[in-house]
């Protein structure tokens, strides 16, 4: 397994270079360094000298990808792409365009993101698996039918509707929780209840329906019939056999997501005023802050790769027949 993990880590290097290159190209197709300078310096009284100064300070005065004026390796290294990319691989993110330290910002913002995303993930998983098992248990009954109808209805509704509806109902009409905001420490519970609740509810439809399908597929297998035939209670059949065997496809989707929880939720954080990494990324895109966009995409890619490796490892834990070579 060790050799497998090392190999996967080495595969990650060209993937990260490619992602970084793609981010770079996409960003600079839309924005030139001059656009970035103008965005940062504002629209009033900006002189060409100020723009050149801004670019020079941040290294955007070099050619983007190829420096024909430089000699030797400098043709590739004396470029914006190389200078900005190479430090990323040492996880040195530098400063944002408004000179705030990115690592420090990430360190501050990851906690609110995790405080929101982890409960949504864990509670959501528990609720969706339970609901799916319930529907599978009552398969071909009215409970199952209406459960599926409910799931289809819930997955058809936009997340934005859940957010606005939830804020309206629980905070504006019933006055139970703050509409938005965030405080650290134990006070965070008051602010997180609503977004977590909405996050869980918004995810029930799609996930429960998917899990129900997996459970039903397992429930039709011979080992389930055998388990029932030998007199096991339905509870034992569901939790002891069906759930365990349905875990592999569930893990495929779930474990890969775990590291990405860190990246935060773009929409929920914005609407609930949670100062996490999701809103950090959105702000950076709006402000054309390439340093932050690049750092966040890089971190997201790293986490995604880590998630995929963890998924592979988790297979071996739930299914002893699988060996990583």
């Amino acid at each position: 397994m060790f050799a497998y993990i090392v190999r996967r880590v080495l595969y990650a290097v060209p993937i990260l270079v490619g992602v970084n290159l793609l981010t770079f190209l996409l960003f600079f197709v839309v924005n030139t360094p001059e656009d970035m300078a103008r965005m940062q310096l504002g629209a009033k009284r900006v002189t060409p000298e100020a723009i050149e100064k801004w670019k020079a300070e941040r290294g955007y005065d070099k050619p983007l990808l190829w420096n024909a004026q430089a000699g030797g390796a400098g043709k590739a290294t004396q470029t914006v792409f190389f200078q900005k990319s190479v430090r990323l691989f040492a996880f040195d993110f530098g400063a944002s365009e408004d000179k705030r330290d990115i690592a420090s910002e990430i360190g501050e913002r990851m906690w609110p993101s995790l405080a929101l995303a982890v409960p949504v993930f864990l509670v959501g998983l528990a609720v969706c698996v339970s609901f799916a098992l319930l529907m599978a248990f009552f398969r071909a009954t009215y409970l199952d039918l209406w459960g599926v109808v409910l799931c289809v209805a819930m997955m058809s509704i936009s997340t934005l509707f859940y957010i606005i509806g939830g804020q309206y109902l629980l905070s504006k009409l019933l006055h139970l929780v703050p509409i938005s905001g965030y405080q650290g420490g134990a006070d965070a519970l008051r602010f997180l209840f609503l977004p977590v609740f909405i996050g869980v509810v918004a995810g029930i439809g799609a996930s429960s329906r998917w899990y129900r399908t997996l459970f039903l597929e397992e429930m039709g297998r011979d080992y389930v019939r055998t388990a029932r035939a030998k007199g096991l209670a339905e509870r034992a059949v569901l939790f002891g056999h069906v759930l365990q065997n349905a875990l592999i496809p569930i893990l495929t989707g779930v474990v890969a997501v775990i590291p990405l929880l860190f990246m935060g939720s773009l929409l929920t954080e914005s609407f609930f005023g949670i100062p996490g990494l999701g809103s950090y990324t959105i702000d950076a895109i709006q402000a054309q802050d390439f340093a932050v966009v690049r750092a966040m995409v890089f971190i997201g890619s790293v986490f995604y790769i880590v998630g995929l490796i963890l998924t592979d490892i988790s297979y071996t834990l739930v299914d002893p027949r699988i060996r990583l070579q």
């Binding site: 839309v30 924005n31 656009d35 103008r38 965005m39 940062q40 310096l41 504002g42 009033k44 009284r45 900006v46 002189t47 060409p48 100020a50 100064k53 400063a95 408004d98 000179k99 705030r100 330290d101 690592a103 420090s104 910002e105 913002r109 509670v123 609720v127 248990f137 009552f138 009954t141 409970l143 606005i164 804020q167 905070s171 504006k172 009409l173 019933l174 006055h175 139970l176 929780v177 703050p178 509409i179 938005s180 905001g181 965030y182 006070d187 519970l189 008051r190 602010f191 209840f193 209670a233 339905e234 914005s270 609407f271 609930f272 005023g273 100062p275 809103s279 950090y280 702000d283 402000a287």
Partner: protein
């Protein structure tokens, strides 16, 4: 069930009001709650240039002058200065210079700050790394001196700062341009540049509380700049303190942690979530104004006359990026004031039959009041002077055709309708470049643009479309066709509006042009490309706006000065308009005091502007603000940003209203729980039945 119960039980223990987003310790305190939507980029007074930022910086930093809070038209008064400086015109080295001698009041002290403790200027790196806030260090203070103002003026040329007004100021402050070059040569990477060691010829220290600023020629508008944060004092110790190793990595910089003498100090700086200003214990206690304009006394705005300010102890600004939570929290009493978004306009405002806006009954019932004011702004449909169809640079008969075309458009485009449809009436159609309330702007019949409007029954009425059609025919486009080629006239609007939500706006534009049978084509692009087109002069028609820096007509009239052409000099004249007579008058007007002669020259400039119509109409934006009844001393002031010190809150009244508006409603929760329980019982019974069910039906006995 537990998922719901546990938080509900937890919340039961919190307070009588469950949805209060603030800590219980805030209750009963004189705290003002406000919002900010955009993350500030700079809080350094030399670099900051937006109102989002100045709502913080101007509570901390004190320029020598300020605007009177209550009097209109806007009037400059001393802030830290002992008196308004009167410029002395002198001859120095064969050049005419204006000398502003400014004497500041003695005894003003800086806020408590670690930079004023000498030991904190040589901190160990580990100590810095362990800090969570600069205010964890021992705090000190010292008296404000003229050197602090001089230091800041020198910072305008600092090679490591981006000072938006450097270009402008280097044209006026003696030696500033050369000073910037000298500092650039002296700067060493990573080292603190001590500006005290580098003299600037354009500023002179007279004594500890007096300094002079020497300007080339005359520049009466400089007094307005003296009321802006660019000319606020910076203690050298603050720069030195924040330049220590490890500070920048912790985001402890002067750009993020202002150090001033103002009524408040920034103690919490989380631009992602919350900014907190607390009362500066060293503040001198400036008295509340004892004079205002007519009606201020009746409105209770002079009740606190002479009392030392500020009236609040703390101001908490929460970041709200979305309009819906902001509006709902305002209605719940968790923000003391709010603007009105288009989505909430109908809920908040009722327009009377006379067209006057007023509060809706719902708002009035909650004790909310509304204040409106016209901003010192102008938003206009510009015609690119370099364009061969709508411009005027080509001269001769073609220029005359284009002028009549612009005039026809200026009549046909119904800005009154635009404001009603797209801005809920929050604007005033413009009749000239100058915003209402400023010197040079004329009210009433004398203020209307006679080309586009006529005065009927005491108000300006847009001229009939026939007048526009007549001008269009004279321009050589009868019925919207070029009489020379027979081709339909097509005009292009360069715009950044391109989302599905902007379709209504584009349809409106199309309708306006169609009234003259002119074909309309929007050229939709992103903001960057739009700006690039403006810079290169590649637009035809476009819409942009301007907000004045100071209440002087020069700050609007210069937008049409040929020397400011965007395409030629990257200036602020986006339409690239050029008229020698206008430019000559501008050269006279810009340096004049507000006299009848100045008004006369401005009238002539406005007349030229109306005739040439480089802007095909536009509007001045109007602000509608809502304020809860517990917030006092509120008067819109579009020029001042240091308004926080004047405001007062009634915390008891606020707490009572919040309680009345936010009592938890629990019965739907209990009902939901009962319904959930009712749904679980049959499921449980069905489960039990299944568990006990045989694999096959048991045959009947004897069968």
């Amino acid at each position: 069930m537990r998922v719901i119960l546990i938080p509900v039980l937890f919340l039961c223990g919190c307070a009588e009001v469950w949805n209060d987003p603030y800590p219980a310790s805030d209750r009963g305190q004189r705290v003002l709650y406000s919002v900010f939507s955009e993350r500030p980029k700079h809080l350094d007074p030399a670099q900051s240039y937006t109102t989002d930022e100045s709502q913080f910086t101007m509570q901390v930093y004190e320029p020598v002058l300020q605007y009177h809070y209550l009097k209109r038209p806007y009037q400059l008064i001393p802030n830290t200065a002992a008196a308004l400086p009167e410029p002395r015109i002198e001859q120095r080295g064969g050049e005419t210079v204006s000398v502003y001698e400014i004497r500041i009041r003695p005894g003003i002290r800086f806020q408590p700050h670690p930079a004023f403790v000498p030991a904190n200027l040589a901190l160990d790196r580990r100590r810095v790394d362990a800090l969570e806030s600069p205010y964890q260090l021992p705090l000190g203070t010292r008296e404000l001196t003229a050197d602090d103002y001089i230091y800041q003026i020198k910072r305008l040329a600092h090679p490591q700062l981006h000072v938006p007004i450097f270009g402008l100021m280097s044209e006026y402050i003696v030696g500033l341009k050369a000073y910037a070059a000298a500092l650039k040569a002296a700067a060493r990477p990573g080292e603190w540049l001590d500006l005290r060691q580098h003299p600037l010829p354009g500023v002179e220290r007279v004594d500890a509380h007096t300094y002079r600023v020497i300007l080339k020629g005359r520049y009466p508008q400089f007094q307005y700049w003296l009321a802006m944060h660019f000319f606020a004092p910076i203690p050298w110790e603050a720069e030195r303190f924040f330049h220590q190793p490890g500070m920048a990595e912790k985001n402890f910089t002067l750009d993020w942690w202002p150090v001033g003498t103002g009524p408040f100090m920034l103690t919490e700086n989380n631009p992602n979530s919350r900014m907190t200003l607390v009362r500066n214990p060293n503040y001198r206690g400036e008295p509340y104004p004892s004079e205002g304009e007519e009606g201020d006394a009746a409105a209770g705005l002079l009740a606190d006359a002479g009392k030392p300010m500020p009236f609040i102890d703390r101001a908490v600004y929460t970041r709200e990026k979305e309009a819906i939570p902001l509006w709902n929290k305002f209605l719940q009493g968790y923000y003391d004031s709010s603007g009105i978004s288009s989505d909430n306009f109908d809920q908040a405002v009722r327009i009377s039959l006379e067209g006057e806006p007023g509060l809706s009954p719902e708002m009035e019932a909650n004790g909310i009041r509304m204040e409106t004011s016209v901003e010192p702004t102008v938003f206009y449909l510009g015609a690119n002077w370099l364009d061969p169809v709508v411009g005027g640079a080509m001269g001769g008969a073609d220029a005359e055709r284009a002028r009549k075309l612009r005039q026809a458009l200026a009549i046909a485009i119904d800005w009154e309708e635009y404001l009603q449809v797209f801005a809920n009436g929050r604007g005033v159609p413009s009749h000239g470049p100058i915003a209402p309330g400023l010197f040079g702007y004329r009210e009433g019949e004398h203020g209307i643009n006679p080309l586009t409007h006529e005065w009927k029954e005491g108000k300006a009425v847009r001229r009939p479309l026939e007048a526009a059609k007549k001008l269009l025919a004279e321009a050589g486009y009868p019925d919207g066709r070029d009489e020379r080629t027979g081709q339909p006239l097509v005009l292009y609007l360069d715009t950044t509006t391109r989302g599905p939500g902007d379709k209504a706006l584009m349809d409106w534009w199309r309708k306006q042009f169609a009234r003259l049978s002119i074909q309309f084509e929007p050229r939709q692009t992103d903001w960057n490309r739009f700006q690039e087109k403006l810079r290169k002069g590649n637009t035809q028609l476009f819409m942009v706006g301007w907000r004045a820096d100071y209440p002087d007509p020069e700050n609007f009239l210069f937008l049409l000065n040929g020397a400011q052409s965007r395409a030629k000099t990257q200036g602020e004249n986006a339409s690239n308009y050029s008229n020698p007579e206008y430019d000559a008058l501008f050269a006279q007007v810009r340096h004049m005091a507000n006299t009848p002669q100045r008004q006369q020259l401005i009238d002539r400039m406005v007349e030229i502007f109306r005739r040439d119509a480089p802007w095909i109409g536009g509007f001045h934006r109007k602000t509608f603000g809502l304020y809860h009844g517990w917030l006092g001393n509120v008067k819109p002031n579009e020029m001042s940003d240091n308004k926080l010190k004047y405001l007062k809150v009634d915390p008891e009244r606020r707490a009572a209203m919040r309680l009345a508006w936010n009592r938890p409603v629990l019965w739907p929760v209990l009902l939901g729980m009962l319904l959930a329980a009712a749904a679980v019982v049959p499921a449980w019974l069905a489960y039990r039945r299944r568990e006990r069910m045989a694999a096959r039906p048991v045959p009947a006995a004897g069968a």
